[in-house]
């Protein structure tokens, strides 16, 4: 599965409790839609670190980096390129 597919799969099953791909657009704001609360951020970051072997310091835990599927894909790509 692609990185994008894995990220989408995680958000769909863990936050939307469904596998219906049509429920999640790649550019939608996860916070704006209320899909992710404060603990949700923790879950999401744990997933990224576990799944993609990246480390995310506090200052990078921002909505710009985490708030949509597109943003998450870009973050993972950037971190891996840097790592």
């Amino acid at each position: 599965m692609t990185e994008r597919g894995r990220i989408r799969q995680f958000i769909l099953t863990q936050f939307l409790f469904t596998q219906d791909e049509s429920k999640l657009a790649d550019d939608v704001s996860l916070l704006g839609q209320g899909l992710i609360d404060s603990t949700g951020v923790l879950e999401l970051v744990s997933f990224l670190e576990r799944e993609f072997g990246i480390v995310l310091p506090d200052e990078e835990m921002t909505p710009e980096n985490l708030d949509s599927v597109n943003a998450l894909c870009a973050l993972v790509e950037r971190k891996r390129a840097a790592g």
Binding site: L16, L31, G34, P63
Partner: protein, 672 residues
Amino acid sequence: MCGIAGILNLGDAAPPQRETLAAMARPLVPRGPDGAGHFITRDIGLVHRRLSIIDLEGGAQPLTNEDGTIWTIFNGEIFNFVELRRELSALGHVFRTRSDTEVIVHGYEAWGDDMLHHLNGQFAIALWDAPRRRLLLARDRPGILPLFVSTDAGRLLFASSIRSLLAARAHPPALDLAGLDAAFTFWAPTAPQTLFEGIECLRPGEKLVAAGGRITRERFWDWPFDPEAAARPVDERAAAETLRDLLIDATRLRLRADVPVGAYLSGGLDSSVLTTIIARHTDTPLETFSIGFEDAALDESGAQTLMAAHLGTVHHAVTCRREDVAAGFADAVVAAESVLLRAAPVPMMRLSALARGTGFRVVLTGEGADEVLGGYDLFKEAKIRQFWARQPQSKARPRLLSRLYPYLDVNPTRAQAYLEAFFRQGLDAPDAPLFSHQPRMQTTTRLKAFLNPERPWPSPEAAAAAVTAELPAGFARLAPFHRAQLVECRTLLPSYLLSSQGDRMLMANSVEGRFPFLDHRIAEFALALPPHLLMRGLTEKALLKRAMGAALPREIVRRPKQPYRAPGSSAFLSPAHRDATRAHLTPEALQSAGLFQPEPVQRLLTKLEAGGPVGEKDNMALLGILSAQVLHARIVRGDSPGGIGFKPDADSTDSLIGRDAGGGDTPQPRRT
């Protein structure tokens, strides 16, 4: 405290039957374990279950006037009955008992419905004016005590418990979709809505009059918010002294009883103030009751022990474990007759069991101070968001948000950008009526994703629109802080805090709670003050601290406010409770109730069982869904009708409704 129920014929329905009254009385036994009485005619049936507190010998109900024309049953206490009795005696009324109930009857004779304005108390009253064939129902000002109503088959039914009405209704019980939708927005439906189809509650401070087949309802009291208050010049020192005097008097009045009165002690400011007043300003030897948690982040035992030692009270404490919360949840849901999105009521039920087990049937408790005197973090949050909304591009203003919720130590939203993004919700409409409650509503509303889309749910805006429609004229002219207070007083205070977490958890163990901070004189005084006296900057309950701070240990006044919270949902899926939890949430059980989609619920369970961090949203989802399923199984479908608190020996009609206070024979059904 007690339980009441009744049936009024609105037209030519069959006369009320003793057996129906008995069925209505059955769920009221925990509210009134000490006795029963009823009154029945062709027009009306009244039944009363008694918890004896004042005038143990003479206080039986239903109670009537000198010539048997006015009848009343009532749940609650009229704290100023001594003064009212004096006043009414001077007007020539003859009292036959020492009970507070009798001032209602004579007060009605003297003043009509205006009698309600004379009462300082907590009450749900039914009063039958036989010559006028007129029924008056009334509920106390802040909504401490419940009073539910239903029109069904040509009758008006009313009771302290929803289950009493379900027992008498011709229609089979069903959960109300709009009520559930409202609960998944505001934590609980707002009056007059309930979780059950065809059943309403009286609004706090509302009276209902039924006469000549017509029913009218109106508020006889409302929270006295005042648009002029914000600009009113006030001497702060004098205001603090007035508040102190009012609190002492409100507490003194609430110690009136013919049984011992104890107090809950949470370790926070409000209960510390109350217990201090009792200890310093009355002769009552004080016993205090506290709940502790094994989870250090929730536990306040340190502050409780400190206060108890400081005042020299006889202190009783019980520790609530995660397992206890899971074990007690279903019974708490049935007692609450509502969904619970938090487990916090469960420990309150254990606390009332501790008080009752120690021999106490009355406790004073500090609820209401946060609403009336400005204590909640939600008010600070709203204040910061208002301040920020005036300069939405400001970098400095939203930084104040980091001063909120310091107790959430694992909260990664401390990452400032995330915090800002969350609380930015609704910032573009700072004058919206529910601006202050927008973040809470947004979080709660997510639960609706689990609802079964095939059912006719109300529109997404319906719950908020129902609350907005109830707001008083002039609401928009209030100071933003007062708007936040008013919304809180109208929604969460009566519909959750005083009911699911208050009266129902107390009454499940036959204990009466009394709430000095909710004396209407305190509301009428404090809400006429400029809001900055209540919340100075971001210092909550500033005026209360000024009024009472010197009498308290410094550690108590200075400790950061810790909201009362109970353990989350982790124990519900532990080996000991997993099967019980899952039994309510199988695809079959979910389909049978028809409220939720099975697939997402199964995924939620899988996620929670994996044991990762559990967020507020998932926690609320599990408890909200589970509690709705429990309501369906235990109340709608009627599994284990024994339920909580039902005593098998209180089965017969005679034992459930006692003697007929009118002494008349049971009327026979009219031939048709």
